[in-house]
């Protein structure tokens, strides 16, 4: 048995865009235990619900996280809509789905880039982010924002997408799909990439279940769990199946996310084909009263929104359980007995979003 050393990892670390601190207890080069310390990004925005009324809080909810911003806004709006029994017009639901899937696409591309950066494959990082810019261009054209759109509103969406733009999105995505195939084949087939990801950080199905992993983390361990199958928004009218893999290692998680990107492109195409005409939103009157519980599938997994209203403009409570928080126990478990060099890849493999986690 070697000597035990503690290596601090973070809060400011080249591999992490966001601060999280881990104390890595090492025995020679092997990690024995990882002790996390979070709270660097805690703002306390759940409490802000007492100072902003329920409609203003849409903007705050969107800023829980800048990567999955749209889906946070959507989750919050859906919970208020359920409390107030507001029926969102079908076109609004389809538009939401299109933006949500585009968000997933850009988030997964961002993650692929960061993963490539973590194992030092700089050009692959650049390629992934180059592809991602095309999605951001679509966002900019349809909503006006690159990362935060403020387009989701209680009762529907604020902006419509014209049919010409929808056709344009279709052609952009078709072009992109080809490039995406080329870039992602490197992640799947390249020997050096495989050496870094195959067999690293194995999470078995039982472990994933016991530790409550969600999203691609659970799906890569063979658990078929995808909140979109509930059929919220327009997902009920689309044809898709959750993507799973039995590997449980970093390679499997990469594969699941890559397949999900193609699935997202397919879902957007289906939406463009099936989108009906009509209104995009309904006017919401009155104040909410009651409580509601919403589950959504974000790029990182299942997010839970709990909202409690008391009949006034100001809500009593908003509670968000984010996917990264659910995946942290699984991360700490996979970090055990891995080598120090694999730590950055393992941390990235859960697609950490610390600002979601700490809010």
């Amino acid at each position: 048995m070697g000597n035990r050393t503690i290596v601090p990892f973070g809060p400011q670390h080249p591999v992490l865009p966001e601060p999280i601190h881990l104390d890595l207890v090492l025995e020679d080069e092997t990690v024995v235990e990882a002790i996390p310390r979070i709270g660097y990004i805690h703002r306390g925005l759940e409490k802000l619900v007492e100072k902003r009324d329920y409609q203003q809080y849409c903007y705050v909810a969107e800023r829980i996280c800048g990567i999955c911003s749209f889906m946070h806004g959507m989750g919050y709006c859906m919970s208020i809509e359920r409390i107030m029994d507001v029926e969102v017009p079908e076109r609004g639901e389809f538009l939401r789905t299109i933006w949500a899937e585009l968000s997933r696409l850009h988030s997964h591309l961002l993650w692929l880039g960061l993963l490539a950066d973590a194992f030092g494959f700089e050009s692959l990082f650049m390629q992934s982010w180059k592809l991602r810019e095309q999605v951001l261009d679509i966002f900019e054209e349809t909503t006006g924002g690159r990362v935060i759109f403020s387009v989701c509103d209680i009762g529907g969406v604020r902006k419509d997408i014209s049919s010409e733009t929808l056709m344009k999105i279709r052609t952009v995505l078709t072009e992109m799909e080809k490039e995406l195939k080329e870039t992602t084949s490197v992640f799947i087939n390249d020997t050096t990439v495989k050496l870094r990801t195959k067999g690293v950080g194995v999470l078995t199905k039982q472990m994933a279940f016991d530790l409550g992993a969600v999203g691609p983390m659970a799906r890569a361990s063979g658990i078929e769990m995808d909140m979109r199958t509930q059929g919220y928004s327009a997902y009920g009218k689309l044809d898709f199946k959750p993507i799973t893999n039995d590997g449980g290692d970093c390679y499997a998680r990469t594969r699941v996310r890559i397949k999900e990107m193609f699935q997202s492109i397919d879902l957007i195409r289906q939406c463009i084909d099936k989108i009906p005409g009509g209104d995009i939103n309904v006017k919401v009157k009155g104040t909410p009263n009651g409580e509601q519980f919403i589950r959504l599938e974000q790029p990182r997994g299942e997010v839970v929104y709990y909202t409690k209203a008391n009949g006034t403009k100001f809500l009593d409570r908003v509670r968000v359980r984010t996917p990264t928080f659910a995946n942290l126990p699984a991360l700490l478990e996979t970090l055990k007995n891995c080598s120090l060099a694999d730590v950055p890849i393992l941390i990235l493999t859960i697609d950490p979003c610390i600002s979601c986690t700490e809010r």
């Binding site: 670390h13 703002r43 306390g44 800023r63 810019e133 951001l136 990362v147």
Partner: protein, 150 residues
């Protein structure tokens, strides 16, 4: 482009205060192919001792104040600080949250403020270019020392 405009290729240190990630990914987007500031030799370094400009996104809170201070102190002179986004400037939408102390200028001196929620890559690049002039001025103001002199 006339490269004489670029007087120096600064190395950037990026730290995320309590940002929502929006500005962070835009900072990273500056380095990637569409904006690609790396062609001017601007590199995002992880080491404060190599950095000329500190980019901070998001406001400060109790827990990260020591981290921000430490990063700033570890950077060699001359150095400049760019506060990216409205949160780093004043706290922005989260200014009233209980765990937000306010803008970055509460802790360390800030040279350039970049507005926006989220700040666009163009304005971030503009902010860094402004910081370059400030760096040059700071360098002029520094007393000239020989090696080994105290």
């Amino acid at each position: 482009m006339n490269l004489n405009v670029v007087k120096k290729s600064p190395w950037i240190l990026h730290y995320d205060g309590t940002s929502c990630n929006g500005c962070d990914i835009e900072v990273l987007a500056c380095l990637t192919p569409l904006y690609d500031v790396e062609r001017f030799g601007i590199i995002n370094t992880g080491n404060p001792k190599h950095a000329d400009i500190l980019l901070i996104t998001g406001s400060v809170n109790e827990q990260n104040i020591p981290v921000v201070k430490q990063l700033y102190e570890q950077m060699p002179e001359p150095k400049a600080v760019v506060a990216v986004g409205i949160c780093a400037t004043s706290g922005g939408i989260f200014a009233e949250c209980y765990n937000v102390a306010g803008g970055v200028d509460k802790v360390i001196p800030v040279d350039v403020y970049v507005p926006g929620c989220a700040a666009r890559p163009e304005s971030i690049i503009d902010g860094v270019v402004k910081a370059l002039d400030i760096l040059a001025e700071k360098k002029k103001a520094m007393p000239k020392k020989r090696i080994g002199e105290k």
